[in-house]
Symmetry: C2
């Protein structure tokens, strides 16, 4: 991994470092790219963030997130669309490589996952021209099937690839080891995604993993190195973004230790 | 659903009714088939169970379970093979429609899910002649991807269908709403499975579901009726087995209420 660019996603030091502290902190450890969250961006201010990033020569590997297309009522859909337009503006303002898009789960009281998936396709189709006009790439991230009802009805890279082929230019995918490692078609879908891979996020799966407890690279069962190799063989040359969401463990530790550990671990896969 | 045979899996009344009580209790509610677990079968005794089932004219929709093929050391593999032989004997002794087979997760310290999957294929290939000789069908059950590391590296019906096509006669699949509802290829894989569907298990996915907390049919987000229709259209004519694993809710209630509720709910999907 030593020839590849490593990024740290802000979620990795959540609750300890705000965006300013994260940029300073990551830079101190030689990190050259950061995955930013919109709430932190807004707390810091867009103009101030631009200065901060420029001063540290720090790239933005991804901006989290837009999407959430699955609403039954028109008003919610309009509000979401407007917010997604602002998310695109945010991504452009800080020069993010991509805006991460999370599909959305099932609407309240719905049992219609196929219908939810159609809403995602419609929502993406509506948003893409605006993203294209802004020069922002949308990166659809399939989440783990345990999040299918609450967060993302799109759960496989295969589905995301299908949507990219249907909807055309401007839409790509996120490969995330935690969300996708279990998929028997993962390697072939990474290869199929090829130039559509806009971001790669890595963390590990622990025996007691939940959506809110992800493992440090190397502490779990995921062959992170193999996934990174597949992505590289598929032509991906962008940053590998460490994203450790871990309320009970890593978020309790000294963020400098967390970042140093992440950098060591990813160098070894 | 009223023209279809309903079964209750013993797990639904776990901790409250032993096997004898379950057979009596289910029969009282008009249930004509039961999903049996091996530990309960052994506690009751095979001969006594046969008598009990015969007396109540109760079919065995499934016996849980054999499998767990993913071990790195030869001794564990031999022990597992021997136990699987005994599981086949158990299934034959009580006339079970099938022996449910759970693949097994990753071996200790392993990150090689592809290797684990090869072990499952090898283990099934070794076991199938014995199952065939005993006249027992093996029903491979893909579990939810959140169980991929701990319990089953086989997580999609597509993979299970692939294995059936490779390994040939004697091997089929379990369709389980809880484990498989999220899969965008589910309908096509049910159709592909067709006569290979040996058992259908139903429960629901709740917002806070984990492997140990499954919802009563109708309380969650799964369109159970649609899955049952797909299975029926694929040619399945066997029992629909309710399996509510629910330590925090349904296992705390009066089992008569649980069974009555399950019967009402499945009649409505």
């Amino acid at each position: 991994m030593q020839d590849r660019c490593v990024a740290i996603n802000q979620a990795t030091t959540r609750g300890q470092w705000n965006l300013t502290q994260a940029v300073y902190g990551y830079a101190r450890h030689g990190v050259r790219a950061i995955g930013v969250w919109r709430e932190d961006l807004h707390a810091c201010g867009v103009a101030a963030t631009r200065e901060l990033l420029k001063h540290h020569d720090m790239q933005v590997s991804s901006l989290s997130f837009g999407g959430l297309f699955t609403a039954l009522d028109e008003q919610t859909r309009r509000d979401t669309f407007d917010d997604n337009r602002r998310a695109i503006d945010d991504a452009r303002a800080i020069g993010a490589r991509c805006l991460v898009v999370i599909a959305g789960g099932l609407p309240p009281s719905s049992k219609d996952i196929a219908g939810a998936r159609r809403m995602v396709e419609d929502g993406l189709a509506e948003l893409l021209p605006h993203a294209h006009a802004a020069g922002v790439m949308l990166a659809l991230e399939p989440l783990h099937p345990m999040l299918a009802s609450g967060r993302s009805c799109i759960v496989t890279l295969g589905e995301a690839n299908d949507l990219c082929e249907k909807l055309g230019e401007g839409l790509g995918v996120v490969v995330d080891s935690f969300h996708q490692w279990w998929d028997p078609t993962l390697e072939q879908e990474i290869s199929r995604a090829s130039a559509r891979i806009l971001a790669v996020q890595v963390s590990d799966w622990l025996p007691l993993s939940s959506a809110q407890e992800r493992g440090m690279i190397g502490d779990g069962v995921i062959d992170v190195g193999n996934i990174c190799r597949c992505v590289s063989e598929a032509g991906y040359r962008g940053p590998y973004e460490v994203e450790i969401i871990s309320a009970s463990d890593w978020w309790q530790r000294d963020p400098d230790e967390v970042v140093a550990t992440a950098m060591q671990r990813i160098a070894c896969v």
